[in-house]
Amino acid sequence: MTAAVQPGPQSRPRPSALTGFELERRGLFQQSLTVVWRNLLHIRRMPEMLMDVTIQPVMFVLLFAYVFGGSIAVPGTNYREFLLPGIMVQTIVFSSFVVAVGLTADLEKGIVDRMRSLPIARSSVLVGRSISSLMHSSIGIVVMAVTGLLIGWRIRDGVLDAALAFLLLLVFGFSMIWLGILVGSMMRSVEAVQGFMFTVMFPLTFVANTFAPTQSMPAWLRTIAEWNPVSSLTQACRSLWGNGDPAPASAAFPLHHPEISVVVWAAIFTGVFAPLAVRAFRRRARD
């Protein structure tokens, strides 16, 4: 035992960070922005994190457009024009993947605990994560748009319609983020998240009108595909950008009202997944 462990004199000034100035009162939004800043720094430090919204979808575009494209007939347009909205939808649906991986990594590494030990709104971790993931996926949309323009995809309808399509992508992406938070809170490792999400996301984005018209699918599969929310979003983008014919008369109900369907689906997903996600996150973070 040395004298040093004895309690020191209380009068000695502590090198205090807080003397001399007040802490700012910052709300949920500002705290979330700080978390966003941190998440974006991650992307800057590890640009390969963006591969899932850059190289990967570009590869998909090229593969589908040039390898399979020739053998897929699409009504009213060429395959590349048909494909681009599908790829964009896939990219935005995968934002749930981005959220889940990021959240699980932060939980695993104790970053979430560190933030929860601070006097901040506890949801700022989630809100920050959601905003940065939407930005992450938006980069993918921009990359896809540029790639599309290079290989012959065009926006053929008005600017407002085009903007509405991008807005619908974001709205749907927002609802998918809740699924990501739910999965991220439930899984114990990044590997588990990847395994689960691949298993869910591939059927979800492929059993749809994203890469091939639904008309040529077996009847039962076609029904599933046409009711798939992913198809509504793809159909909405195609129709707002003028990439191909409207859905045939034989198509399921949602494809005849794709824009409204997207909003309804997004509302349902948010309504179902958001409470579950918040509960799972709280439970995960409680013990």
Binding site: M1, T2, A4, V5, Q6, P7, G8, P9, Q10, R12, P13, R14, P15, S16, A17, L18, F21, E22, L23, E24, R25, R26, Q31, T34, V35, W37, R38, L41, H42, R45, M46, E108, K109, G110, I111, D113, R114, M115, R116, S117, L118, P119, I120, S124, A285, R286, D287
Partner: protein, 344 residues
């Protein structure tokens, strides 16, 4: 004058399903002092710490940190404490400076104050040179120091440290101890968990020994050592052949003598200098040469063995996460029986 209590645990209990991780832990830490929770992996140290730092909700019981109740005023608790977790939870992809900036901004420290504050903290923890390198490139000791620096961003009056030196090399460990002593001199109250007896011995004003979720002993390091029994005289003879003769002589003046032949050593209980000089005189009289003669107080390791029947550091299984510590380690047969009974 009443003692100013900085941290109080009041019969804290935590169940994880069927497992009882913490089974009624209570203690109080006077302001400006250091309390060490000592115990093996899985004893419930981390879980207790998580409850006090509002990361985990107690199954029952309560506690206060700087006067704020951990259940009814968690935000008050969070404003008054810093936490350095078991795995140094710095953000690996951020630089040292950015790590401080991140937590500082979340606390609400004004943007223009953060720069000088970060410089000051980095300097205090000898991280100035590495300030703009990402934390991934830091050594274990540097990470711990950064973790500690980050915990101090808002100068909390109470600091919680969960096994702050686990995995550090001896030199970094001593350096970190110096930093902690410095903080205590400045008036900070520390609660640290450790499975290193030496660490508790060096730093703590008071030690709470925890085993299987319960406090099995508490007191100053000296008090605990006294509990483990008397001091003993340890003799190392020059010639192993003299061991038996020396043992015989000693038996004439002390109650018992242990012979450790391989070490050429005799160990006998002794109360102090009187016993020691008596033994020394006796040996000199009979011309028995001694290499070494000393009085040994029981170590905290002896204390632990005495209290629990097993050594504190026998299980070196790394405790990977907070949840990990909730799983009881593999105790001896007898130990697990006790545990199962406790669960029923």
């Amino acid at each position: 004058m009443t003692v100013d209590i900085a941290v109080e645990a009041n019969d804290l209990v935590k169940h994880f399903g069927e497992t009882v991780a913490v089974d009624g832990v209570s203690f109080a830490i006077p302001r400006g002092t250091v309390l060490s929770m000592l115990g093996p992996n899985g004893a419930g140290k981390t879980t207790t710490l998580r409850m006090l730092t509002t990361l985990s909700v107690p199954t029952s019981g309560t506690g206060t940190v700087a006067g704020h109740d951990i259940i009814s005023d968690p935000d008050g608790v969070r404003r008054s404490m810093g936490l350095t977790g078991q795995a140094a939870t710095v953000d690996e992809l951020l630089t040292g400076r950015e790590n401080i900036r991140l937590i500082g901004r979340l606390y609400g420290i004004p943007r223009n104050r953060i720069g000088p504050l970060a410089d000051d903290l980095l300097d205090r923890f000898s991280l100035s040179e590495a300030a703009d390198r990402i934390a991934k490139t830091y050594s274990g000791g540097m990470r711990r120091r950064l973790d500690l620096a980050v915990s101090l961003v808002a100068s909390p009056p109470v600091l919680f440290l969960d096994e702050p030196t686990t995995g550090l090399d001896p030199r970094s460990r001593v350096e970190l101890w110096d930093v902690l002593r410095e903080l205590v001199r400045g008036g900070t109250t520390l609660l640290l968990t450790t499975q290193y007896l030496e660490e508790a011995d060096t730093l703590a004003d008071e030690i709470v020994v925890i085993d299987r979720g319960r406090v099995i002993a508490a007191g100053t390091p000296t008090e605990l050592k006294d509990q483990a029994g008397r001091a003993s005289v340890v003799l190392t003879l020059s010639d192993v052949a003299e061991l038996d003769r020396a043992a015989g002589l000693l038996r004439s003046c002390v109650s018992e003598v242990h012979v450790e032949e391989s070490q050429r050593r005799l160990v006998a209980p002794a109360d102090g200098l009187d016993d020691m000089t008596r033994i020394a005189g006796l040996l000199q009289e009979h011309h028995i040469e001694v290499d070494d003669l000393g009085l040994k107080r029981p170590s905290l390791d002896d204390v632990f063995l005495h209290l629990t029947g097993h050594r504190a550091e026998e299980e070196q299984v790394p405790d990977d996460t907070g949840e990990g510590s909730s799983t009881p380690p593999h105790h001896s047969e007898a130990g697990s029986t006790v545990r199962e009974e406790a669960l029923r």
